[in-house]
């Protein structure tokens, strides 16, 4: 909602959809929700053009609409879906990750879904076959089958999510409509308490819905087919029939960015332990997160679902060496100095992870042998580490010391800070003001007298993590916007050359470009690559601060 964020959103739309859609999106971003006529007014475009732009944006899940009754007619308001728009900068990383997790088929599926916004499974497969063709030695049906399989797998892991027509409505309007339905059942207008309980019930209902069956999958009985049955389903065989999970062919799917972000966050949490303890600890942590991942919906949850230690023992990757990487106290080893068995080692490892001062892993209160991950604490630690990294790289170690001390001890005066951090007061004062203008610190004035004379007030400094994260995110948006704009400028500077490259005869024959032009092209590509990569790295920082 800040200037920098708006600018970045606009630039994203410009790059992905072109200048006309950019105009429409710009108006929606800056001015909020409005009907078609008003948009046409602001952008000086014809209503038909505006409608087409809106169609494109809705197809890509970037715009949602709401219908409201105003006196005699129904007016449709259109609104930008900001989170989805800002996630589009992460597209390169999403493609890379889908290739890692689902192989090339997955990458192709993701690519085609991102190109078209939302597709059914049949359309998606058809699109891929059209663009990439079939490898020699394989038939079209085999290719279709493998693509279908990859698609189903992605749906089951919730990397692709079904889109229903109701998803195009704004979330707030949906909530209001549901509430209205509930309150209409009552004869009297609801009191505040009743309203609160209705909202809670609806929230719980939604939660249960998300956790239950995945929309878009259906089960049917099928004869045993090669390479098409599910391992789990084989247990339910009924003679020759197997229950097979398939994707429904008339449901549209889109890429679920949340799931990717969750997985990236899990990897980062596991990475915290790699240097701190050892790689085995990281592997154990990663396994725990994988097991608990299924029920994670978004990154804002506090605790993961519980994981039992037996399951953990069975799911560890084959090459983790538990025994040799622990250093035991002589008293633990017993009289024969034998090393304990694997499950005892795992117990010890889990104990170490639990006792670690980051307090991320802890025992589940109700049941024994089950462990829960404190996601809130983990995400706070990730954010704090990132902010420390930024402050350390930009300003230096003494600044980090002050920041850590304030984060640990709460509100302090500059005299106390100077004493604890062993730095002279003059230095400390300067550093505090620098950090405050940067956005990391907060100042609280406590006056001693009725008049707020500066010499008679206490000035208390503190670190508020959420505010620091927000301010830094804003600065990072500014940088991302700059990088993106510079890319446009670089391309615009060489527009003539690029036009020449697009000619069909030049595409066919490279030698029509002379050496200077080739060199220019190389410089351009190099510059664009640097700018893109830098933007992607900063986008990763932004998701840590904003979404984790």
């Amino acid at each position: 909602m800040s200037t920098h964020e708006n600018r970045l959103c606009r630039l994203i739309v410009r790059e992905h959809f072109g200048p006309i859609v950019e105009k429409v999106a710009n108006v929606l971003i800056r001015k909020g929700r409005m009907p078609v006529g008003l948009i046409a007014n602001f952008t000086a475009l014809k209503p038909r053009q505006v409608r087409e732009c809106l169609l494109v944006l809705i197809q890509h899940n970037l715009v949602v609409y709401a219908e409201s009754q105003e006196k005699t007619r129904i007016v449709t308001y259109y609104e930008i879906n900001r989170p989805e728009l800002l996630h589009r900068v992460l597209i390169p990383k999403v493609l890379h990750s889908s290739q890692d997790w689902f192989e090339r088929d997955g990458a192709l599926i993701t690519q085609s879904l991102l190109t078209h916004g939302k597709l059914t499974i049949t359309d998606c497969v058809a699109d891929i076959l059209k663009t990439s063709g079939v490898a020699p030695g394989k038939t079209t049906t085999q290719r279709t089958q493998s693509l279908n399989k990859a698609f189903t797998r992605m749906v089951k892991e919730k990397c692709l999510i079904a889109v229903r027509p109701s998803d195009s409505l704004t979330a707030a309007d949906k909530n209001m409509a549901e509430e209205k339905r509930e309150t209409d059942k009552m004869t009297l207008p609801p009191t505040a308490a009743e309203l609160a309980s209705i909202r809670k019930a609806l929230g719980a209902q939604k939660q249960a819905e998300q956790n239950s069956t995945i929309v878009g999958l259906k089960r049917r009985l099928d004869t045993m087919d090669d390479g098409y049955g599910e391992k789990r389903a084989r247990l339910l065989t009924d003679g020759d029939l197997v229950i097979v999970e398939e994707v429904e062919t008339d449901v549209y799917f889109k890429v679920n960015f949340d799931r990717f972000i969750i997985r990236w966050r899990n990897v980062q949490i596991a990475n915290l332990y790699e240097a701190r303890l050892n790689p085995t600890a990281k592997a154990i942590m990663q396994t725990i997160m994988n097991l608990a991942e299924e029920r994670m919906i978004n990154c804002k949850e506090e605790h993961s679902s519980p994981v039992s230690i037996m399951l953990l023992l069975n799911s560890l990757p084959k090459d983790t060496n538990l025994i040799d990487t622990l250093e035991f106290d002589p008293s633990d080893l017993g009289p024969n100095n034998t090393k304990p068995k694997i499950h005892e080692c795992l117990d010890k490892y889990v104990q170490i992870l639990e006792d670690d001062l980051m307090k991320i892993l802890k025992k589940d209160a109700g049941r024994s042998g089950q462990y829960v991950i404190n996601l809130k604490m983990a995400s706070e630690i990730l954010k704090k580490n990132l902010i420390q990294g930024i402050v350390s790289a930009r300003f230096g170690a003494p600044y980090v010391r002050i920041m850590n001390m304030l984060a640990d001890k709460g509100k302090l005066e500059e005299k106390q800070i100077s004493r604890f951090s062993m730095m002279p007061v003059k230095d400390v004062r300067e550093k505090l003001t620098t950090l405050c203008t940067f956005g990391v610190l907060n100042l609280q004035e406590v006056p001693k007298t009725k008049e707020r004379t500066p010499s008679r007030t206490y000035y208390l400094w503190e670190v508020i993590l959420s505010r620091a994260a927000d301010t830094l995110t804003d600065r990072l948006y500014h940088t991302m916007g700059n990088l993106r704009q510079r890319r446009f400028v670089e391309r615009a500077k060489r527009a003539v050359l690029l036009n020449k490259c697009e000619r069909t005869d030049v595409k066919a024959d490279d030698s029509l470009l002379n050496a200077a032009e080739k060199k220019e092209l190389e410089t351009l590509n190099g510059a664009l690559e640097m700018l893109e990569i830098q933007e992607l790295r900063i986008a990763e920082m932004v998701i840590t601060l904003r979404d984790f």
Partner: protein, 307 residues
């Protein structure tokens, strides 16, 4: 031995000496020597006071007389009234020293008078002026022979009233290395189990520093704890309370804190932001799309892309 004191003065002085630190009240004296006339006792007391053999305190409405030792008698006896008052107040502040403003309020003397007295006392080498670390603009006075307390000088970290940053850094590095050595087993890929309890405490670190004679100044456990806290805030070391053993009461370890310290091997978070010019740009706040400083014509970008 006291010179030319009258017998009564002598007697009074001896009684005061005997009374020691508690002092002698006039009623006490008349109780011990009921035969001395009250008027004479009063004259004797005044003369002793004037010559600096005894000093008077007020306690709960009563006046108590304390005898001064021989050495002090010699010096203070030669002083005039005001100087004596000032001298006594300075002596009463012990090794904390006293500020001129406080001196003024305690003695109720005029500032010029106090200044004169202080100059005279300094000339006679009875008091000295020192600078405090906490309030650098104040001048504190104390008796010549006393050493300033830790509060005033700031302790071992200050040399000449200034924080000795290099000394502190050196010490912290040594402490960190010692803790790092003790926190992880020799094989770098292994880690200790959670029952391992040989992590060093502040006392252990102090012993190590003392044994290696790294610092010339004697450091207390509190000083070392301050250093270790600095390491904690730097993110290099963690502290936690160690598991307490059952046979705890006959250990001679410090019982006031059970903190033990463990080195942290976290990977330093690298910041991608600093790699691009915007992260280190001094005018980043001023930069905007259409303004005089904009990304299109940015010089830092030109240099950065011109690899």
């Amino acid at each position: 031995m006291a010179t030319n004191l009258t017998p009564l003065e002598e007697l009074f002085y001896q009684e005061c000496l005997k009374a020691g630190n508690n002092g002698l009240t006039s009623t006490d004296f008349s109780g011990i020597h009921p035969d001395s006339p009250v008027m004479d006792t009063a004259i004797a007391m005044n003369s002793l006071l004037g010559r600096g053999f005894i000093e008077v305190f007020q306690l709960r409405g009563e006046q108590i007389y304390k005898a001064l030792k021989k050495e002090e008698v010699g010096k203070a006896g030669a002083l005039q009234g005001e100087e004596q008052v000032v001298y006594n107040t300075i002596r009463a502040s012990g090794n904390e020293g006293i500020w001129t403003k406080h001196l003024k309020s305690k003695t109720n003397l005029h500032e010029a008078v106090i200044k004169r007295c202080l100059r005279a006392l300094e000339q006679k080498a009875l008091v000295k002026a020192i600078k405090s670390v906490k309030h650098p603009t104040r001048k504190l006075y104390m008796l010549m022979e006393l050493t300033p307390s830790v509060e005033v000088t700031g302790g071992p970290w200050f040399t000449d009233q200034e924080l000795d940053v290099e000394f502190v850094e050196q010490l912290t590095n040594h402490c960190y290395k010692y803790i790092l050595m003790k926190s992880f087993p020799r094989d770098a890929s292994c880690i200790f189990t959670s029952t391992h309890n040989a992590y060093p405490s502040a006392a252990n670190v102090r012993k190590y520093i003392m044994d290696k004679r790294i610092s010339q100044v004697d450091l207390s456990v509190d000083d070392i704890t301050m250093l270790l806290d600095v390491l904690v805030y730097d993110g290099k070391v963690e502290r936690f309370i160690a598991a307490v053993d059952e046979d705890w009461d006959d250990e001679d370890m410090d019982t006031d804190s059970d903190w033990v310290y463990k080195a942290v091997r976290d990977k330093k978070a690298e910041s991608a932001w600093q790699d691009c010019p915007c992260g280190v740009c001094p005018v980043a706040d001023f930069c905007s799309e259409g303004g005089p400083v904009n990304p299109a014509g940015c010089n830092y970008y030109n240099k950065w892309l011109d690899f």
